[in-house]
């Protein structure tokens, strides 16, 4: 049944998380997992056969002879039985020790750290991810939200912080998970190899919108990555189109600027995600919606309908104001 279900699941068009490793770390875990899986299957089969045999034998004897209890069973047979139990126990010890050794070596391999030339800071908030790539100067630094871009083949050191409660960063294709705990700083070193888009998720229950706390990971060739980084460093330009201009004005004077930051504009608050390049991101509100102008407009008109409990309030803007605002935000690429 186990195999059947696994096969069924694999046959579907399905994201395969931990079973689709794209980094040496995830690969180590993947290999270890399959070692454990086949060993377990072997043990399970053995136990089930023994159980079936026991039921068959015992049932046969139960039918044939009288049903009174037997207080002093045959000594020789008893000894043989005990020896079988002992052998099975000894075998399980051997298997467990083997698995333990494998696990310890796997663990070592997992945390054998290469020098990581790239550093990024991940700060978890209720319920979104803040990502910072530090440059040499402040203007060199890049802040983004809910998307992590990584160059393929380059080790990266993620420095992890929590802004409010405990979160856990889980990138199943790239590594296991690591908790982000207030008052503690931790690190996760990754070496992604295969370009593509992968999913990450908060794995520690962190409140109402724990379900909508996703992180999009884009692994790309180094030159594409550095192009992306250069793009991200560019401050937002003042929009040209009249509706977008009205939107920018609304953004700066209205409710948005109380929480959000757009580099190059007057908005510079830090409570919510940085929106300097919001239009280039794959999804909105940490996975609540795919990013499109229509979704953005819907989101702005009533965030609580899509992510109840999220800390973005309904803006209470009129329809024409919403259009202007979306027009402005769409220029932030």
């Amino acid at each position: 049944m186990a195999l059947g279900l696994a096969a069924l699941a694999n046959a579907c068009d399905y994201r395969r998380g931990a079973l689709d490793p794209i980094s040496p770390e995830a690969l180590t875990i993947d290999i270890l997992w399959w070692v454990f899986f086949w060993t377990s299957l072997f043990v399970l089969t053995g136990v089930l056969i023994a159980l079936a045999f026991a039921l068959y034998r015992g049932h046969a004897r139960g039918k044939s002879s009288d049903t009174r209890a037997e207080l002093t069973p045959d000594a020789a047979l008893e000894r043989r039985t005990e020896r079988a139990v002992l052998a099975a126990s000894a075998l399980s010890v051997v298997i467990l020790v083997a698995l333990l050794v494998g696990s310890v070596f796997g663990g070592r391999a997992l945390f054998r750290t290469p020098q990581a030339p790239l550093h990024a800071k991940v700060i978890a908030h209720q319920w979104w991810w803040e990502i910072q790539y530090q440059g040499k100067t402040d203007s060199d630094s890049v802040a983004t939200a809910n998307e992590l871009h990584l160059p393929a083949g380059v080790p990266v050191d993620l420095e992890l912080h929590a802004a409010d409660v405990i979160h856990s960063l889980w990138l199943p294709n790239l590594h296991g998970k690591r908790d982000l705990i207030p008052g503690h700083t931790s690190h996760l070193v990754l070496r992604p190899t295969r370009p593509g888009r992968y999913d990450g998720h908060c794995a520690e229950f962190c409140g109402l919108q724990h379900a909508r706390m996703e992180l999009s990971v884009t692994v790309e060739p180094p030159e594409v990555f550095s192009r992306w980084l250069t793009e991200q460093r560019r401050p937002a330009a003042a929009p040209a189109a009249p509706d977008a201009r009205r939107g920018a004005e609304l953004f700066a004077r209205g409710p948005c600027a109380l929480c959000h930051n757009v580099v190059g504009s007057e908005a510079s608050a830090s409570a919510g995600p940085d929106l300097t390049h919001v239009a280039s991101r794959p999804f909105l509100a940490a996975g609540a919606l795919p990013n499109s102008p229509l979704n953005l407009r819907n989101w702005l008109s009533d965030p609580q309908a899509f992510k109840p409990g999220a800390q973005m309030p309904p803006t209470g803007l009129r329809a024409d104001e919403l259009d202007d605002l979306v027009a402005y935000l769409e220029t932030l690429r």
Partner: protein, 174 residues
């Protein structure tokens, strides 16, 4: 007997309603405010006030917004005052009733208090009002916020609580 049991039942019901009201998590504008806005008339003024000051979630949200909207910048985090007047005492320049505090936030006041009415949704202003009321201990005890994380109340700490520096490759995985 029936009198007593109905009294008891009423009491239980009242307790249950109190609990429900205290614990409700409202993620968007409450009906009271929607109705008020749409009809453009003010219902009896205590209605919106009660919906917010009897609700622990509102007070807690108010506490968060007090920091987010930078009220703390002038009034300090625990409302002790600074550039702006303190909010923990019984002295109110522009009136200390919930409605007056609400108006102060919505319209702003001379000499520094900006107007927030155009930038902050009305229900969040009411949440701020609830929190401000809690600062001077004017809320029911069971909705008052407890100690916030990462902030020491009581006596100021005599020192910083930094962890001993851990060598780079000790303790955690690098």
């Amino acid at each position: 007997m029936t009198g007593r049991s109905s009294l008891l039942a009423g009491l239980a019901l009242a307790l249950a309603l109190t609990a429900c009201r205290r614990e409700e998590r409202r993620f968007s504008e409450p009906q009271v405010l929607v109705a008020r806005r749409e009809r453009a008339v003010a219902p009896p003024s205590s209605e919106p006030v009660a919906a917010f000051v009897d609700n622990a979630w509102s007070v807690s949200e108010g506490q968060r917004l007090f920091g987010w909207y930078n009220c703390a910048g002038c009034h300090s985090l625990a409302g002790g005052g600074g550039m702006g007047p303190p909010l923990r005492d019984a002295t109110w320049i522009y009136g200390g009733s919930p409605e007056e505090i609400h108006r102060t936030i919505v319209e702003g006041r001379p000499n520094g208090m900006p107007e927030f009415g155009s930038r902050v949704p009305d229900y969040q202003i009411w949440q701020l009002v609830a929190y401000v009321l809690s600062l001077s201990g004017r809320l029911r005890q069971d909705v008052e916020p407890g100690r916030p994380e990462a902030i020491a109340l009581g006596q100021p700490p005599a020192m910083t609580y930094e962890k001993k520096p851990v060598p780079a490759n000790k303790g955690t995985h690098p």
